[in-house]
């Protein structure tokens, strides 16, 4: 064994340097000393003995940050041991124990399954996913900082930033949770009323005012000539209560997130009239949102959380993973629904309530990219129905809240390819939407409030 001196001069050669840390220290010192004194072992040893270990090391420390180098290296090893990817090892997390709220619907699949399938852990976070009773509570608990981040509906971060329906607080939507994944379900007693024109006087339930469900339902009935505020009644119900209300006859139908459409079919009280992907294939639904204050105060934690969600979303998108995910999120701790219901939603092979088994693979899909054009569409609908009044700077708000650039950056880091632009045109029920012309789009509808 070569005689080595350590930075603690009284440490003798026979004390067992068994710990990993000590070995690392040793290796670094070795490397530095070799670099400084050159390759000849014998002359190096002789020099150090002549000068004295303590002197030598203090001289070295004055020109080379030995201590900092050692701690940085140990940190890197630590993080790699925990499985973090190279990009995140250099940034310390400000807060590891986080609370993320979710509403028990399949839209939140990436947020939920990231816990049992270890995506949060992969990036060094210890996240508790907390079940929330409804959207208003999710909003309140997010604003009161009980939740560090939360599952929300895609219009909600926009509404909260604008101060519509709550105090104005700047919010960010780093990622979309799911696209498609909703349906219009009607009571079985209406199985011969498939034409929306026959729905005058019906009562429909939606999860929340500021939701894609509300806007898509309104869009759908308006395209068939019904005024959603005058000809039908739309009321807000938390999704878990919708099946029970349908059974009790309180509502005639609902446009709800899954698994409640499938659950209504399972309980033989309702049938699926239309999947929302048939209204707009690829429409956004739910979101992962956090306050701008949180992102600013704890950028590394926010980054790690953001990355774990993007990773989880891509994992959920793959068809081969869907069955396992259904199994992981069906228990009481998460969705609390029968496993077959969740499986039918995620795999796209499902019973439609009228005796047929349908196969629609894109019934629900997961794509994190928060297109700015989606935000603009939502804002146009909010203006159309009078939720927002006056002038709206569509692009400015869209770009402020939907942080597409950052999402794209994380997607690239994880090996996926983000879209090259953030605006796209959509065709919704045969009508084109151009994000560059929002006001003309609103004006083109015969039924509106503004």
């Amino acid at each position: 064994m070569t005689t080595r001196t350590s930075h603690a001069p009284d440490e003798t050669a026979e004390s067992p340097l068994a710990s990993e840390e000590a070995r690392v220290d040793r290796a670094i010192e070795d490397a530095v000393v070799r670099a400084v004194l050159g390759g000849n072992d014998a002359s190096r040893r002789a020099f150090i003995q002549r000068v004295g270990a303590a002197t030598f090391y203090s001289a070295l420390a004055s020109v080379f940050p030995l201590a900092a180098c050692k701690s940085a290296a140990k940190e890197e090893l630590d993080k790699t041991a925990k499985g973090a990817t190279a990009a995140s090892t250099s940034k310390p997390l400000e807060k590891k124990d986080l609370k993320v709220g979710f509403v028990p619907i399949t839209c939140a699949t990436p947020i939920i399954m990231a816990r049992p399938l270890g995506f949060y852990e992969k990036y060094g976070l210890n996240v508790d996913v907390i079940k929330t009773a409804g959207w208003a509570v999710a909003r309140d608990k997010s604003l009161s900082k009980e939740y560090d981040a939360s599952h929300m509906l895609t219009p909600m971060p926009l509404a909260i930033t604008l101060g519509v329906g709550s105090t104005a607080t700047p919010y960010l939507m780093p990622a979309v949770e799911n696209i498609n994944g909703q349906a219009i379900t009607l009571d079985l007693k209406h199985k011969h009323k498939r034409n929306p024109k026959q729905w005058k006087g019906f009562k429909f339930a939606v999860p929340f005012d500021y939701s894609m469900h509300n806007f898509l339902l309104r869009y759908y009935v308006a395209e068939h000539g019904l005024d959603p505020d005058k000809d039908i009644q739309i009321r807000v119900l938390p999704p878990p209560e919708m099946v029970a209300n349908l059974k009790a006859g309180n509502v005639d139908g609902f446009l709800a997130p899954d698994p409640f459409n499938q659950r209504a079919v399972y309980e033989k009280v309702g049938y699926i009239h239309l999947l929302t992907r048939e209204i707009w294939d690829g429409h956004p639904c739910c979101a992962f949102a956090a306050s701008a204050a949180f992102a600013k105060a704890m950028p590394n934690t926010f980054g790690a959380l953001f990355k774990s969600i993007v990773d989880a979303t891509h994992f959920s998108a793959k068809r081969e993973n869907r069955k396992d995910i259904a199994k992981a999120i069906a228990p009481k701790n998460y969705l609390n629904q029968p496993e077959t219901v969740v499986e039918q939603v995620l795999t796209g092979t499902f019973a439609d309530g009228l005796g047929e088994v349908k196969t629609v693979p894109n019934r629900i899909n997961f794509d994190p990219f928060p297109w700015h054009s989606m935000a603009v569409w939502i804002l146009t609908q909010m203006k159309r129905w009078g939720y927002v009044k006056g002038e709206v700077d569509y692009k400015k708000i869209a770009e402020q809240v939907y942080i597409a650039a950052e999402c794209g950056k994380y997607m690239k880091e994880l090996g996926f390819s983000p879209p090259s632009t953030t605006y796209a045109k959509y065709t919704i029920m045969g009508k084109e939407f151009d994000p560059d012309r929002p006001e003309e789009y609103i004006a083109s509808f015969p039924i509106k409030r503004s």
């Binding site: 208003a136 309140d140 009161s144 878990p240 399972y266 998460y334 609390n336 629904q337 029968p338 088994v357």
Partner: protein, 275 residues
């Protein structure tokens, strides 16, 4: 013949058995057919669709839940014992706060006819407000769901104690007050040694009513805000249309409420004077 107590107990048991028997007969549906087509395998069989379960199912669930009441499978799935204890904790905090405010206030109102007249409109206005109506305001101002639940319990259990205390104090037998005056007792001594013991039975009746209301309120409040608690447990099971668990929770809620009421009943007996 049998004593009144024994006969009452027998009648209670008979009523219970009759009710359970009737329920079991009604709820036991036809056995489910085995799934034949792919469609049938994807929807619930007749035995699986949500329905009111027979008492046998509730009982087996009760046994299963009570055999491991403190399990912890994550923040959203904890044992029934844990849920009940969390709820009880919130009730106690809210209830004790209500007592701390209501008894002294009730005392002052009861002793002063002027205050009684002046405060009466406010009390009558705030008394009938449902806890669920207070909840959104509390959440908005307090910005914390647990504190809001405690506040809602406080504001709803305040009134019975307040009103009963005021009533008890104001209707103390005039003779006692005259004796106290004759003996030249100061106002504080009068209050503590004459009025308080005289009004104690009425005050405790108010406390007994309040604890019942607190327990009622916490279940409703928790259904609204979630977290850990029996109200959340009921809501979670309701999401899954698991009516056996909902009925089991109802029974547990009733049992705990009964226990709380019994405890206060015993306390009331301690302070009442039975000739």
């Amino acid at each position: 013949m049998f004593s009144l107590r024994a006969r009452a107990a027998l009648l209670s048991i008979a009523v219970l058995l009759a009710f359970l028997g009737f329920w079991q007969a009604l709820a036991s549906g036809s056995p489910g057919e085995s799934a034949r087509t792919q469609y049938e395998s994807l929807v619930a069989g007749d035995a699986q669709t949500a329905r009111v379960p027979p008492p046998s199912k509730v009982l087996s669930l009760a046994v299963e839940q009570l055999s491991d009441p403190f399990y912890d499978r994550g923040p959203n799935d904890k044992g029934i014992g844990t849920q009940l204890l969390y709820s009880l904790g919130r009730v106690l905090v809210g209830y004790l706060l209500a007592l701390a405010v209501a008894i002294p206030t009730g005392f002052s109102i009861g002793m002063s006819p002027l205050l009684m007249r002046a405060m009466n409109p406010f009390i009558q206005l705030l008394k009938p407000v449902s806890p669920l109506a207070w909840m959104p305001l509390a959440l908005f101002v307090i910005q914390d769901s647990v504190t809001s639940s405690v506040f809602v319990i406080f504001v709803c259990s305040l009134w019975p104690v307040l009103i009963n205390t005021a009533f008890g104090v104001s209707s103390v037998n005039a003779d006692y007050l005259n004796v106290a005056k004759t003996l030249e007792l100061g106002p504080l001594r009068t209050a503590l040694t004459v009025i308080l013991p005289a009004a104690a039975p009425t005050i405790l009746t108010g406390m007994r009513i309040s604890i019942g209301i607190s327990w009622l309120v916490i279940v409703a409040a928790e259904m609204l805000v979630g977290g850990v608690g029996i109200g959340y447990y009921v809501w979670n099971e309701w999401n899954n249309l698991d009516l056996a668990a909902v009925i089991f929770s109802i029974v547990m809620i009733g049992l705990v409420g009964m226990l709380l009421d019994w405890l206060l009943g015993r306390a009331a007996e301690l302070v009442s004077f039975k000739a």
